[in-house]
Symmetry: C2
Subunit: 78 residues, 2 copies
């Protein structure tokens, strides 16, 4: 099973992207973890080190897919 | 079967996003059409009317997921 992590911050753009990505993904092959960085602030550093520049973003192995634009990581960090 | 259209312009960002999206998608539920707007210039207007502002982008029903940033539609149109 491949692992993917979807990082978001609860914004409307994030919520829409989350619903589209979760619909789209082949759940037989991918396990998608959803991380709300506003609520799980301890994971902001992990997201940044994976290359996340803005949310919503989906991390797949070494690649980051930034999906539309909800907020920058600077905004998320407040 | 749901339909999704992935618009790109052959750029490196596009190629990487295409391979990730095609890996990720549940092919049992989604039929993904890949459109290279540099080669199929007649479809630029269709992409714009679907809301595509930059490539690569994935159109799913009424939603557009802009995935990372390869080129603006102005660049694609030249």
């Amino acid at each position: 099973m491949n692992k993917a992590v979807f990082y978001h911050a609860g914004c409307p753009v994030c919520v829409n992207a989350e619903s589209r990505i979760t619909e789209l993904v082949d759940r037989g092959r991918y396990n998608v973890e959803i991380v709300h960085l506003g609520e799980q602030r301890g994971r902001i550093a992990e997201a940044e080190s994976a290359g996340v520049k803005s949310v919503p973003a989906l991390v797949l192995g070494s690649d980051v897919l930034h999906i539309n634009f909800g907020a920058s990581m600077a905004d998320v960090k407040g």
